[in-house]
Structures are given as C-alpha cells and as structure tokens.
C-alpha cells in the first residue's frame, strides 16, 4: 500500500481550469468586438503606410467632394481627403486614450491597492482625495488646463486620466479589501513576506480582472471626452482628429451630412467595441461554472432496483413517512451526477431517526427531496413517498407546498441566514400564521408569543421587536424552531440543526428538540455528522455514504455492534474516550492511528 493511499479524503474529479481568455473568445460578441478593436489599432499604427493621401494636403478641387475612385470618402471643407484624416485621426484618438488610461491606472490602482491593503489612515486619506476629485467639475478644470497649457494634448489627456482615477480607486480598493481578509494573506505575512511582495504576488493577481473590465469601459469614455474637447476646439488644428472632424461636419451638417457621418461612425464603432469587450469580460469573469439546466423527464430509466439500499422498519399503517428508492441527481451541462442512489427508510410518530454521514453522503439531499425544495438543477425520483398516509408523489407542486408547515416542519443548519435581516422576529413569525393559517393579527401575535415562550425565550416581547442581528445564534435557532412547530407538523426535519452552534448552546437546542418532539409526539428526522448527537437524541439511525445506506438500525445496536467498518470509523473518529496524548506517548507502539483502517498495512 503506498503511503498516499492513506489519505481518506480524495478529490478525484476536480473541475478543469479554463482561463478567462479562453472563455472570452468562446463568445461571439467578444471575438467580434475584439477584432474590430484590433483593426482600429492596426489602422492607427499603420497610418503612414495605408493612408492614401497626406491628411493635411489641401486640394481645392476636392472641397466637399462626394466619394470618388481617388477619394473613397470624398473631401472635407478644406479639400483634404476624409479617409486619410479618419485613419490618422485613429492615431490621435488611441494615443490620447492611452495617456488617459495609463494615468488613471497609475493613480487609481496604486492608491486603491494601498488603501485596501494598509487600511487605517492611508485608506481614509486616499478615500477622501478620491471623493474630492469626483466632486470637482472636470470639464471646467479641463478648459482651464487647456487655456493654461495652450492646449497641450498629452497634458490634457493626462488630466482626463486624473479625473478617471477615482473609478479605478474604488474598484481596486474594494477588490483588495475582499482579498486582504483571506487567510492566505495572513499566511503570507506570517511566512515573512514584505508588503510589496505580498501585493505583487498575492493581491494583484486576484484583482486584475475587474481592472481590465474597467479599462475597456474607461477607454471608451475617455475617447468620448477627448472627442468632446476637440469638438469644442481644444487641441492642435494640424493633427487630424475625429472630434475636430465632427466639429467641422457639424457646421456643414445641413448641406454635407456625410462630413459628420464618417468621424461619428468611426468614434461610435470604436467605443461600442470597447464597451462590448468590457461587458463580455464582466460576464465571463462572473460565470465560473456552466449554467445548470432544469432536468427534464425521468432520466434514470436504466436504474436497477437491485442498487437500492435501506429498508422499512415499521408496518405500513404505523409509519408517518415512507420513502422508497429515492434517487437524486443533478444535471450539469450534459453530465448527470447521481448524489443519492436509491435509498429507503421510514419513521413512525414519536420516533427520532438520525441520518448520519460525511459531506457528500447525500443526507441533506434526502431532506430537501422530502421537502420538494432541491436546489436548481437538482431532481429526484422515488418509487414511493408517503407523508402522513398521503402519496405525495402524485401531488401537484401546489398541494405539495401546502403540506409544508402543516405536515412537515423544517429546521435549517444556519439559523442566521434563514432569517430575513430586514424584518423583525415578530413579523417573520406572525406572517406565515396569518397567510397560511388565516389567523387575525391579534391571534397570530398571541400565538407567536406563546411559541417563543415555549421554546425557552424569556423576554418574549423584546425578541418579538428585535431584528435578527440583535439576537444570538442560539436564540435565532430557537426562533426558527418556534416557526417550524407553529403549524403542529407531524414530522420535523432538521438538517444539522446544531452544527453552527457552540457546544453549550447545542446541548440546550437538543434538549429543546427532545422535549418538543415528546410533547407533540412528532417524528423527528435529524441529519447530522456527529455521532455524539446521534447517541444523545436518536432512537434509530441510518448511516449514509456516497448516496447509499451503509447500514441502519436501533441506536444501541449500531453503537455496540456496527456491521460496517465505515460506521465503526465514524464512531472512533468522534474521539470520545480516546487515548490521551500522554498515554499515547507512553504507549509501546510508536505510531497509533485513530482509525484502524487508516493505518492500513503499514504499522
């Protein structure tokens, strides 16, 4: 046995890494826009060779001339070749945009990374400067700069860059903030890396995507501003530019509309290409996984009942829930992944059934199937699902929803994320009572208060008025339990109800569940990974692994004589009554493993 086989927790099918670039070029819009932009860049770079005429050469005969074989787009008001001026104008436009973007990047990204990384005073100073820059009317400053520098084009374009820097600052700062809280940044600090190195190696690679997107959009905007300035007459008269051409075209718009058409089209197409590149990139960055599609029809006709695991323990009349051969699968692109492969179990009123297993065992999927609340892309098929004597397999979705609350109560794992932060606890408890059970406001309030008192909350009136963030996690779980039992369901489904809680709170919540379950004679199906919780509250237990039932039985029997090695491993791994480290160090064998299977043949 090779040593690597010891590792229990393998991850065989890792997702294939497709780079952002690859995904970008898989999209038609991306390819088209990028091609157009590259053509514009080439046109600018090759202007001296591809331009048919000198853009400033005046040929009086060509004044406002229509398109001809020699002058494809005709001549302007001074008799210069329009096509050549468009080609040379691309140069000016791209040169100006480049200055703007480089300035904005240099100012915005540097300050943004520093503000996000160092925080504190650095953050406050840069943020204030950024806000102040945004508050200044840019166009007025630009005109002042134009007058002061005699319309020095590079300086003007750099000034535009300064005004675009706050956009970069905000994006960079928030992206950096998201990364500096990652543990790997702390790990890098502890590893002795200097701040500049951490920024270069760990921060920048994580934030470049939004910066590139912003750049595509900012380049388009800066071209617009540039054309606007040229249109107003800022800039040299000798260098051909699209903005100046538009100004000229505007003056002769009524007599010669094409003079305005060509430069406008050039500018419009370039900006549109950049905007499309930006939005395509944004989509590509956002969507990391293939879109899940709804699974249609019964896709598991080939399923063989012999693969089924689990069994019924009670008579048909006794059981309140009967589930036979449940299969759950997820559609991911063309691939179908089975997460539960035909499991069966039942539970009777007043019984507590534990479903135990590690992550990926399908235990939560089973609960979601019973509730008919599988996440998007998931679908289940079962030969039989009976809840309180009704065959819910034949129900419509609407009737199925009606048994939620009245027959099935549900307690989730994360109490906080299952409460709406914008409503009070009182509102969230009374609303379903009024809507589902048709109670009046006064009735619902009285009932909600009684429920909260029942789940062990002392100052009921304060909690009713509180918002979720004002109460503790343990209190929130009590509120959710109150909500789950409001309709006096015959079955309570609890999905790892104490995993997110501290151990002292867990003991309280388990005690409460036990009391309520006995008081109302409810069946409780409790999903957990903790064999201590199973020992504490369950009557029977189903052990699951990779979508199948490994074994099931009475709790005493499972703990005393587990049939499967897997069950034994899980019990051993709970580390109750484990050897203490001192005993371990004193023991003869130098290398004792917690799991008998893990040590394999190499002790």
């Amino acid at each position: 046995m090779s040593i690597a086989d010891k590792i229990l927790d393998q991850k065989p099918n890792a997702p294939v890494r497709t780079s952002i670039t690859q995904r970008f070029f898989q999209r038609k819009a991306g390819v088209t826009a990028f091609t157009i932009f590259i053509l514009v860049v080439l046109m600018a770079l090759l202007a001296p060779w591809i331009s048919p005429h000198d853009p400033n050469f005046v040929q009086l005969a060509n004044t406002k001339a229509p398109p001809s074989a020699e002058h494809w787009l005709g001549g302007d008001s001074a008799g210069r070749d329009i096509l050549s001026r468009i080609i040379w104008g691309a140069r000016t436009t791209l040169f100006g945009a480049a200055i703007t973007i480089i300035t904005a990047l240099a100012v915005g990204v540097t300050t943004g990374v520093m503000a996000g990384f160092f925080g504190g005073l650095v953050d406050r100073v840069f943020s204030w400067l950024s806000d102040a820059t945004q508050a200044i009317p840019g166009m007025i400053i630009l005109l002042v700069v134009a007058a002061g520098t005699r319309s020095n084009f590079p300086i003007l374009m750099a000034t535009v860059g300064v005004f675009m820097a706050p956009g970069y600052f905000r994006i960079t700062r928030s992206a950096t903030l998201a990364i500096v809280n990652e543990p790997y940044i702390d790990a890098a600090k502890v590893a002795g890396l200097t701040a500049p190195r951490i920024i270069a190696r760990h921060v920048l690679p994580g934030i470049y995507a939004p910066i590139i997107i912003q750049t595509a959009l900012a380049a388009g905007i800066s071209m617009g501003i540039q054309a606007g300035l040229q249109f107003l007459g800022v800039g040299s008269a000798n260098t051909p530019s699209w903005g100046a051409m538009m100004n000229e075209g505007f003056r002769f718009m009524l007599t010669n509309p094409t003079l305005l058409l060509w430069p406008s089209a050039a500018l419009g197409i370039t900006i549109a290409a950049l905007a499309t590149i930006g939005s395509t990139l944004a989509e590509v960055v956002r969507v990391r996984t293939p879109v899940v599609s709804e699974t249609e029809g019964e896709d598991d006709k080939d399923w063989d009942p012999a693969q089924g695991t689990g069994a019924f323990a009670h008579d048909k009349n006794e059981a309140i829930v009967r589930l036979k051969n449940l299969r759950v699968f997820y559609q991911n692109g063309d691939e179908q992944k089975t997460v539960v492969n035909g499991i069966s179990f039942d539970v009777k009123p007043g019984e507590v059934l534990g479903i135990v297993g590690e992550s990926g065992s399908g235990k939560s999927q089973t609960i979601f199937s019973l509730l008919n609340l599988l996440p998007k892309g998931g679908k289940y098929v079962a030969d039989q699902i009976e809840i309180a004597g009704k065959n819910v397999n034949e129900m419509t979705g609407k009737d199925r929803a009606k048994i939620l609350g009245s027959q099935l109560g549900y307690i989730p794992q994360e109490p906080m994320s299952n409460l709406d932060p914008t409503f009070t606890i009182g509102h969230q408890l009374t609303e379903p009572l009024r809507l589902v059970f048709g109670q009046s406001k006064a009735e619902a309030t009285a009932k909600a208060k009684a429920l909260l008192a029942r789940v062990g909350i002392n100052d009921v009136d304060r909690v009713m008025k509180s918002y979720p963030h004002q109460i503790s996690g343990g209190m929130a779980q009590r509120v959710l339990i109150a909500g789950a039992i409001a309709g006096q369901p015959s079955v309570l489904l609890a999905d790892e109800p104490t995993t997110a809680l501290d151990v002292t709170v867990q003991a309280e919540v388990l005690e409460l569940l036990r009391e309520l379950q006995q008081e109302f004679g409810m069946a409780l199906i409790l999903v957990t990974h903790n064999f201590g919780v199973v020992a504490d509250i369950c009557d029977r237990v189903v052990v699951m692994r990779e979508g199948a039932v490994v074994e099931m039985g009475e709790v005493e029997q499972i703990f005393a004589q587990p049939k499967a090695q897997y069950t034994q491993d899980l019990i051993d791994a709970s580390l109750d009554g484990t050897l203490s480290r001192k005993d371990l160090d004193a023991s003869e064998t130098s290398n004792v493993h917690i799991l008998k299977t893990a040590g394999g043949g190499q002790k």
């Binding site: 040593i3 690597a4 590792i7 229990l8 927790d9 393998q10 991850k11 890792a14 997702p15 990652e182 543990p183 790997y184 702390d186 790990a187 600090k189 502890v190 590893a191 002795g192 890396l193 200097t194 190195r197 190696r201 760990h202 992550s359 501290d502 151990v503 002292t504 867990q506 003991a507 388990l510 005690e511 990974h529 064999f531 201590g532 919780v533 199973v534 020992a535 504490d536 709790v555 005493e556 703990f559 491993d569 899980l570 019990i571 791994a573 709970s574 580390l575 109750d576 009554g577 484990t578 203490s580 480290r581 001192k582 005993d583 160090d585 130098s590 493993h593 917690i594 799991l595 893990a598």
Partner: protein, 281 residues
C-alpha cells in the same frame, strides 16, 4: 519532555483590545500561558472566547494593548518590520479554513517554495525541500504542479501544514485546523500532526473547540471564556475531570458517542443546568 528550564513561548498578562483605547472590546483580558519546547498546548473555548485572538496576537496579527510575549527569551510583543519577518523561520501557522488559506492562483509547488525563496534559498534547494515535504505530509509527488482547487479539504490542510513546516519552525500556531473537515479526515490529519511533532520536535499551540481532539493531541490545555483563561493544566485531567465550573459545563455539554454514557452525561448536564438556573434566580 516538557517544563524543563525556560519555556519556548511565554505569554504574560496579554490584553488585546478592539475599538477605542481603554474603552474598547477586550478580546483578551490578562491571559498568561507558557509553551515548552516539543510540547502541544491546547486552547479550548467557545466562539468569542478569545482563543483565536490569542494565536493571532502571538503571530503579530492582533493589536496588543498590554502584556508581554517572550519567544525563546526574546521580547516579540511589538515586533514590526524586518525583525517580525525574521520570526517567520521560528513561528508558523495553520488556519482553520482549508479553502481560503491557499492562494487559488498559485501551484502547490509555488505556495510551498515561496517562504524559502523569500528567505534567500536557491530555487533548486527550495524545490528539493518542497518535494521532501510533500512526501512527509503523505501527498502524491505530482501535487507540486497542481492548483489548490484540485484538492479536497483534507488534502489542502495537509498542504497548509507543509507550508507551516517548510522553514523548520519551532512553534506552529494551529487555529482550529481540523474543525472544517469531515470526521475521518480530521482523524487522519490529527494523526499527521502527532507524527510530524514526533519527527521534527516542533511545539504546537492547538486551538480548538473540541475536547476530544484536544485530549488526543495535547499534553496540556487551557480553557478560555470571554477573553480570560479560566483553567489550565494536564490535558488528560482537564478533559476528564475539570476543576472549574465552566470547563465542567463544556465537558457535560459535549455529547459523547455512546448512548449509555451520553444518557448519564445528559442527566449530569440537566442537573448542573438546574443548579445554574436556581442560582440565577
């Protein structure tokens, strides 16, 4: 094995405060602990007890308001800049979250080699040491050229452990390194921690909320509650027959994977809760 001569790490009256000075939230309130060379010292407590803050303060990641931290006799309380970075060869860390603690954009080989190349080692020697480490934490040799997303939680935690070990430190702060893992994976990673400690002689500060885990891996343990250390001593004793009422409450609240024993424990817990409530009234 332990408690000989002066301790490797000694924390004296450490107070960590967030918010306004002298009026902020005290995450740590005058905590003192010592860790000997080659020892595993456990810190247990519930969320908000300050156990992670203690680890972060030692690593220089939390604002220290008061108190002293001595490492090998040297005062490291307010070390900044280069002296703090130099400490990287002596004190390392393994975090709880196996997904956030590895840079998703770097290969495993680069992640592990970085602390070495930063310290001025050649690429060649770094590569050799990384290959040895990969073997030591029982990962396949071809892991070096792969990215973190190709590994499971347990495997990532092995990588994080390898990164902590790469500069042969004398102390590793382990901040709940197994609590995000499945039970069997946790068991294997605990085995690995013990095995590596025996091989290298590194000391651990092992922060956890699980008494069973602490019992298995730690020689000594401290129990924390609301920023204070309420009890500390031999791990075998504290996890079996603790003295402080809060430690006892923690123990009785942890369900035990044995129905008969758990029934007894629950009865004891109910009794203690009854007394608590009676006392409160």
């Amino acid at each position: 094995m332990s408690n000989v001569a002066k301790p490797l790490l000694s924390v004296e009256n450490l107070t960590v405060e967030y918010g306004p000075k002298n009026n902020g939230f005290k995450a740590l309130d005058k905590v003192s602990v010592e860790i000997a060379e080659h020892e595993c010292m456990g810190i247990v407590g519930e969320s908000g007890s300050g156990k992670s803050t203690l680890g972060r303060a030692i690593l220089g990641l939390a604002p220290i308001a008061e108190g002293k931290i001595l490492f090998d006799g040297q005062d490291i309380t307010n070390l900044k800049g280069k002296p703090r970075r130099d400490l990287a060869k002596s004190i390392q860390v393994v975090f709880q979250d196996p997904y956030g603690s590895l840079n998703p954009g770097m290969t495993i080989g680069d992640i592990l080699a970085e602390p070495l190349t930063v310290a001025g080692e050649t690429r060649q020697s770094a590569r050799q040491q990384v290959a040895d480490l990969i073997d030591k934490v029982h990962l396949p040799a071809n892991s070096i050229n792969r990215f973190p997303n190709e590994f499971s939680g347990g495997q990532r935690q092995r990588i994080a452990i390898a990164r902590a070990l790469v500069r042969k430190p004398r102390l590793i702060i382990c901040d709940e390194p197994t609590s995000a893992l499945d039970l069997r994976t946790q068991a294997a990673v605990i085995d690995l921690f013990i095995e590596l400690q025996r091989e290298t002689g590194v000391a651990y500060m092992f922060i956890s909320h699980d008494l069973g885990v602490v019992r298995r891996i730690c020689h000594n343990v401290g129990v924390m509650k609301r920023g204070q250390l309420v009890e500390h001593g031999d791990a075998d004793k504290v996890t079996r027959t603790p003295d402080h009422p809060y430690s006892r409450k923690l123990l009785l609240a942890s369900p035990i994977a044995n129905p008969a024993e758990q029934k007894k424990r629950r009865a004891d817990w109910l009794e203690m809760r009854g007394l608590d409530n009676a006392g409160a009234m």
